[in-house]
């Protein structure tokens, strides 16, 4: 499986859709938003704008990394004959699927760290070591369910629809989930909706940890519930796709 991880990582790192939307675009967003809203005064007990914005944008990049390395790639490999070739190799199909999930979550980390690095270097963000470690670690874990969503999308969509569907869904859940629209300006109904989504809770973990608070249990519940739902869909469609008949 190590060989497969290596191959997939190399390939994903050279994918322009990863570099552009998971790395370059989020850095651009961060610089833009933090430049516009980041330096204003903030009330005691709340986060400075540069930190407040850093967290959801890092989650945004991490989620796209998870999705792009799975959904569109799996969909195109299913029709290109590559999956058929893999099925003629002495490697178990579950290793391929687990490998894809691992590659996705590994790729999310550099995308997220680059946002944090930009925040430190360009906007002078300062957190304690403990805040950094816990924030980075838990927001990273918070995007893991999206690796499962990406795998599910890879089996549900086909080669021509996959990138569009994946990007459309990504835009919807990141916007409604409060990553690109701050939850503080959302009307109540929208905020209620946001709080049912894994995107909101992945960022909320970070918002709380970066301000020295403990994260809420509900975040873990929502994230695990979505992860299980994505896993179920992925397993259902993957089984159907690989069954020999």
């Amino acid at each position: 499986m190590k060989g497969y991880l290596r191959l997939e990582l190399l390939r994903a790192l050279r994918d322009p859709f990863y570099l552009l939307l998971a790395v370059v675009a989020p850095i651009g967003f961060y610089l833009l938003f933090s430049g516009l809203f980041g330096s204003g005064p903030h009330a005691p007990g709340t986060l400075p704008g540069a930190v407040q914005i850093m967290i959801p944008i890092a989650v945004y990049g991490g989620i796209w990394a998870c999705l792009v390395a799975t959904g569109p790639h799996i969909a195109s490999e299913r029709s290109s004959g590559w999956f058929q070739y893999l099925s003629l190799l002495p490697i178990a199909p579950w290793k391929i699927v687990v490998g894809r999930a691992l590659v996705a979550i590994v790729l999310a980390l550099p995308a997220m760290l680059l946002i944090d690095g930009t925040a430190v270097l360009v906007r002078g963000v300062q957190l304690t070591a403990g805040e950094w470690v816990s924030t980075i670690l838990l927001t990273w874990v918070g995007v893991w369910p999206f690796a499962l969503l990406g795998i599910a999308l890879g089996y549900v969509t086909n080669e021509s629809t996959s990138l569009g569907v994946t990007y459309g869904l990504f835009t919807a859940v990141t916007t409604i989930g409060g990553l690109t629209v701050p939850p503080s300006i959302m009307p109540n109904a929208m905020l209620t909706l946001a709080k049912t989504l894994p995107t909101y809770h992945a960022a909320d973990l970070g918002w709380r940890l970066a301000s020295g608070q403990a994260p809420e249990l509900i975040s873990a519940v929502v994230l695990v519930a979505w992860a299980l739902a994505f896993l179920l869909v992925a397993a259902l469609f993957a089984r159907r796709a690989v069954r020999v008949r």
């Binding site: 190399l10 003629l88 190799l89």
Partner: protein, 320 residues
């Protein structure tokens, strides 16, 4: 041993016959495959011994790809059994005993030739050494090229390398040259020949009669999901064709050639006699044993293409 053979139009019949063993590589018994109302394969019995190079020859839609997919475990037969080296295809795959090059097969975009070869080499217990693989598949200088930036011929060479990388005992190729130009095709068959020469069993599907004739030791002709002829080229020619025995008479006026064994009809043009026979051997033997004077004897076997076309037409006519 892995040296490239670059003679055009090479033929491997003789070598292949010598290295064929009695061990069964592939056994299909009563194999059928139906999709909804369509019976793609209607009952195939086929046994291939280790070391044979077999061409699965047939027109488009004959059931070649379906048969190969069942042989590789990519499809399950509707009825009948498929064995590869006495095991199920899935087991044979797990033991790296099968290598295959399928018709459909883009490579993983974004990775380099060397990277994908290393990945697959790492999966097999006894892979072909890297430099030998490069040499055998003629990939020198392409290792650092990304697979999505290769020409059609180069892609096919990488796919060939991926098929043989595990040093499989059975190599299966489904219309491997259909997208290639003449030169790429010649190079491809040279690589295939070099691999087959090592004593590996090779089964390839093609609709090019010429390729089947030049590179296979045995032809299995299929049409409408059935095997309609099976044997070496000379066997098929004698079994299904009508060879011609011709000779020159010393003087005009001889006749009654139809009484010779095997002869179905005769033509006389001046002093030259042509006999259409079912059995050229028997006809010639009988001629030798007559006291009747003849000279300049010639035996012409039937054109394989004519046999192929007439067999396929018969089968298509019969099933309509």
């Amino acid at each position: 041993m892995y040296a490239m053979i670059s003679t055009p139009g090479l033929s491997i019949e003789k070598e292949k016959h010598m290295s064929v063993s009695t061990e069964t590589a592939v056994r299909l018994q009563g194999v059928t495959k139906s999709y909804a109302a369509v019976r793609a394969v209607q009952g195939i019995d086929l046994e291939i011994r280790r070391g044979e190079t077999v061409a699965l020859l047939g027109p488009n839609g004959a059931g070649k790809t379906t048969t190969i997919s069942m042989l590789l475990g990519l499809l399950l037969p509707t009825s009948g059994t498929v064995e590869v080296f006495g095991r199920t295809p899935a087991e044979a795959v797990r033991q790296s005993r099968i290598g295959a090059m399928l018709q459909e097969g883009k490579l993983l975009p974004g990775v380099k030739v060397g990277e994908v070869l290393d990945f697959v080499r790492g999966l097999h217990p006894t892979p072909v050494p890297r430099d030998k693989l490069i040499e055998l598949a003629n990939l020198g200088g392409l290792e650092n090229r990304r697979v999505d930036r290769l020409s059609g011929g180069q892609t096919q060479r990488v796919r060939f390398a991926l098929a043989i990388v595990g040093n499989p005992d059975l190599l299966v190729l489904d219309e491997p040259t259909s997208a290639l130009d003449v030169e790429a095709r010649r190079q491809f068959w040279a690589s295939m020949h070099a691999y087959a020469e090592e004593g590996h069993t090779v089964l390839f599907a093609t609709h090019y009669l010429e390729e089947a004739q030049d590179f296979a030791s045995r032809l299995v002709i299929i049409a409408q999901g059935r095997i309609i002829a099976d044997g070496t080229v000379p066997e098929i020619q004698t079994r299904y064709g009508q060879p011609q025995v011709s000779f020159t008479l010393e003087q005009e006026g001889a006749g009654g050639f139809e009484r010779l064994p095997g002869v179905e009809r005769s033509e006389v043009e001046g002093l030259r006699v042509t006999l259409h026979t079912r059995d050229a051997d028997a006809t010639v033997r009988a001629l030798v044993n007559t006291s009747f004077p003849w000279k300049e004897i010639a035996v012409k076997s039937n054109d394989l293409e004519e046999i192929f076309i007439s067999l396929v037409h018969q089968e298509q006519g019969a099933s309509q």
